[in-house]
Assembly symmetry: C2
Homo-oligomer: 147 residues x 2
DNA sequence: TAGCATTGCATTCCAAGCTATACAAGTGCT
DNA sequence: AGCACTTGTATAGCTTGGAATGCAATGCTA
């Protein structure tokens, strides 16, 4: 009775994420983007001027990871950081024109990746798949040591 | 019509994998293991004496990643590498007693993580979830530029 | 059998994620 | 005002993942 990788949700989730990452990277590299910045951009395209803390809350990323990602984004001309006038600790994050211009092509690339990934599933299966992932994420999210 | 993270299979897969990784790491760190070695160990527990190339094929990991992982495993006393007598390029990978002894506790930890992750799903949902992940992985796997 | 292509692995360099830690700016209390 | 506490970021150091490249051993073929 060995532990079977292909029956393990965790193993499959890891494999799945790597495959998605490979696909997405291939498609957005030509745009000058890398996958780590993508989640942050998705949030900022909806509205920028957020603090690092707000981004973290939206994305469930650890703070040092986000700090690091933002540093790369600033280096690569995707964002600017300006101190919050009311709170000297915080910085508000603003997209550059470059980053704004990438919203269309970048989300199109992500949509294409999702489409390719789910190509083998029926419409019902796709909906089920996404719903189940959402459910598992939600259940795993907090320190749900609930009774 | 913005791109919605929580409707995106790719975003969810990434989030899911991070949550699984956090959980598993917490549980196997006390054993002296880290998550990157886990897939390799699962294969080797089924039978060692494999080459790096064979491990890579089993796990769909890039070669430099595996080389790196194996180097850490050797450093940490989990494996030994011995040259293949018939092929001077290849090395065969053998588990140490330490690594062998960890099979029980480590797979128990992974099983516990899976159980916790899927706790909110019915038995049917669990089966569906795993089956769908497998299907998407399979579809994404090759360079399926099929006509 | 000499030359070339292939194979197996290592190395370098980078991104992206994490933990642990540090530190400065704000807040609250006295 | 002074102090402790909290909050927002940054830094150091590690793991895990990949691309690009190098190199030695092997295999193939003319």
């Amino acid at each position: 009775m060995t532990f079977s990788r292909d029956d393990s949700a965790g193993y499959l989730a890891n494999h799945l994420a790597r495959l998605f990452a490979r696909e997405l990277q291939a498609r957005i590299k030509p745009l000058g983007l890398s996958i780590g910045t993508f989640p942050a951009l998705l949030v900022l395209w909806e509205g920028d001027g957020l603090t690092q803390r707000e981004l973290i809350a939206a994305l469930d990323i650890e703070q040092p990871t986000m700090a690091n990602t933002l540093a790369r984004m600033e280096r690569d001309g995707l964002i600017q950081r300006r101190r919050d006038p009311h709170d000297g600790r915080a910085q508000r994050i603003w997209l550059t024109e470059t980053a704004r211009a990438l919203e269309g092509p970048a989300t199109a690339a992500a949509t294409a990746v999702n489409a390719r990934a789910l190509a083998g599933l029926s419409a019902t299966e796709r909906a089920t798949f996404v719903a189940l992932m959402r459910k598992v994420v939600a259940g795993l999210q907090p320190d749900d040591g609930a009774v």
